[in-house]
Symmetry: C2
Subunit: 407 residues, 2 copies
């Protein structure tokens, strides 16, 4: 099985030049250079740690009062977690496995937020033994487990909010009503827990910054309801939702920050709550390039569009192409040649392993088997989704480069 933590530290420019947002010390494209020089077996994901750091710092600067918990699920590559520990980040984890990963890389237990509302009782107990003291919840059954096996911990309650505008909305799996949230936080206090706050999630790859308004308003309502019952939550967890750069145009970070500030002013006035935010895609999405090889180019039955089959598909890394939700930008070894419309598909014998059929993509007409196609901004929600070996294809390996280091 491929080692997911495979790492090659390849850099190619002296450090010491001025830092530029988004591009470390000016190394023009360390990932491309790695691919050109090393010519790794495909498919593979290459992450630029300098871009990860840079994104974290941008958000740090833009929201100086917020505690930033990196959503480990977006990319659990150990080197990525290590870089963010060095930057002073906190971590939003989904499972015991992610807690182990963070602790193994040196994260402090108090920097970890156990953000999954669906937790086995024994996993809560284990996290508590490991020093984790902050837990999400949205149900009475989970709250009672926390109170019993993680006594005295901080809990925040997740409310369900509108996900309109998200490319990958959440449905109704998580969160409760504001009324239920207030009941749970009051109950948490009765159970000896610290009912510290309210969380929400506006939906991943959220393209409408105004979406924060619903969540912040809901949180303020819960705060007021709790206060009337003698319980005073203090923290608003803004969740995830900040975008990466796919084919659609996403607003700049500043627009999200403005929307958050306005929402807080509107809902809380001068009594600002503590803030926590859980970026995943925003931190790592644009920092990764996924290189694939063209397996075959064929004319379709109907003669309309060529089918381009890549050695990457829905089951070895591109799970987010389900429903064509996430549309990656592409770069090919034939760029510049005349283009024509294509259907893009993966390599397995599964009929659902088609990436883009409804979404219009054009690729060079000269493209053929053996050429490469890079999927840009593929650093989030790719490698960790890979199957262990569906159809006998190995999982997607990850390499790390650092655009800020000397060659």
């Amino acid at each position: 099985m491929t080692d997911l933590s495979a790492t090659t530290g390849v850099t190619d420019r002296p450090s010491g030049t001025a830092q530029e947002p988004g591009r470390g010390n000016g190394n023009p494209d360390p990932i491309r250079r790695f691919l050109d020089q090393q010519n790794p077996e495909t498919p593979c994901l290459v992450m630029d740690l300098a871009q990860v750091r840079d994104r974290y710092r941008q958000l740090r600067t833009a929201l100086p009062d917020a505690r930033i918990c990196y959503a480990v699920k977006a990319n659990p590559t150990p080197e990525v977690v290590g870089e963010l520990i060095a930057e002073g980040a906190s971590f939003d984890v989904a499972s015991p496995g992610e807690i182990e990963l963070c602790l193994a890389k040196g994260a402090a237990p108090e920097s970890i937020s156990y953000g999954n509302t669906i937790k086995k009782r024994r996993d809560i107990a284990r996290a508590h033994e490991q020093g984790v003291r902050l837990f999400a919840t949205d149900s009475h059954a989970d709250l009672v487990n926390i109170a019993e096996v993680a006594p005295g911990s901080q809990v925040f309650c997740r409310v369900l909010v509108d996900n309109t505008g998200s490319k990958t909305p959440f449905g109704r799996k998580f969160g409760c009503t504001p009324q239920q949230a207030a009941d749970l936080l009051v109950r948490a206090a009765e159970l000896g827990l610290d009912p510290c706050g309210v969380s929400f999630h506006i939906g991943s790859q959220q393209l409408d910054p105004a979406a924060y308004r619903h969540g912040v308003d809901a949180a303020a309502g819960v705060f007021a309801d709790c206060a009337a019952r003698g319980v005073r939550p203090r923290m608003v967890n803004l969740g995830g939702g900040l975008p990466a750069g796919y084919t659609e145009t996403a607003p700049p970070l500043a627009d999200y920050v403005t929307a958050i500030e306005q929402a807080l002013d509107h809902a809380f006035g001068p009594q600002r709550p503590e803030l926590l935010i859980e970026p995943g895609r925003f931190i790592v999405g644009d920092a990764g390039v996924l290189r694939s090889e063209v397996v075959l180019v064929t004319d379709s039955c109907d003669g309309q569009r060529r089918w381009v089959y890549l050695d990457i598909g829905r089951y070895n890394g591109l799970a987010e192409t389900e429903g064509e939700a996430i549309t990656y930008r592409l770069r090919t070894s034939r760029d510049g040649d005349q283009e024509g419309p294509v259907v893009l598909a993966g390599p397995t014998c599964d009929g659902d392993d088609v990436l883009y059929q409804r979404t219009h993509y054009e690729l060079p007409r000269t493209l053929r088997g053996g050429d490469w196609v890079d999927l840009l901004s593929a650093g989030a929600y790719t490698a960790s989704y890979s199957s262990v070996g569906f159809n006998g294809f190995t999982p997607l390996p990850t390499y790390c480069v650092d655009g800020d280091q000397r060659p």
Copy 2:
């Protein structure tokens, strides 16, 4: 990372009693006994090798003239492949990895059919070096690769047929028109290949046995078209499609065999072609039980249905619940208690990790965290789909028992 080939040979009844279809030598439930006695960590898949053998033998008896190529992708557990080699099976493979697996377990290269029409040129060459001589194709580009790097090989051409009645239809990813198939087979002969036949796929978990008619008719048309041009294919590859036992009622094997016989009579009369069939789900589906643990039971926001969260979900084994296509039968540790409607969901922080929301399921009202839920007939298309670690959850391990062996 969990070893997918984890195996425990647990059996509990003397062998030597009469074989019963579907239940080996009469061991009443070796999987259940294994689960009760070993209490393995969940989630896990347990396969009964006796049931795998038995299914193979049923099909062998029902279609004595067909070459049976087990579709390895359905369950690539090495022990399963080993059992089928011992039974004399051939193998339908999708990738170099599956070829390696079959050869490592002792399969003869000539028992392997490289059934994926999407193949890298170098993977075709490697397969040829390993002794594989039978290849699927549906495009000119792939055919030329086969002719150049696997000279003299047998090729069969896949035609696209109607998938109506399939629970997981294929779309238009694979197959060409009958006219194109004839052109490709004629071209194959010109390129020095052996244009041995025609394949089709009626769609996985096909509930309408009559679906074979379309494919067999199409094959006969290609045969006739080729014959008129001096090329004589001789084999019809019936593909997959035979069902396993999910919540819906599937016709018995005899109905499919009758439909195949009638279709062959109708299309070919007394000039019967050679037959090949590629069962996957039918061989291994019913031979596996997936044990999961209830993580949490909560009331939903709307107060309508309880949500039951399991430690198995779409990203660690239940990929075929996408679109609620495959609906597994369930068994719980509270069976017999009064039931009520539920939504079933997986353990990750992903909003799409919901198993059944539209499909009506009822589970005991007493069910709570720590109880177990078994998904029956889960032996196909589960473990190999597991992600390497999405949300930090480990891949689904597989255990094998053998209901025919002595304890």
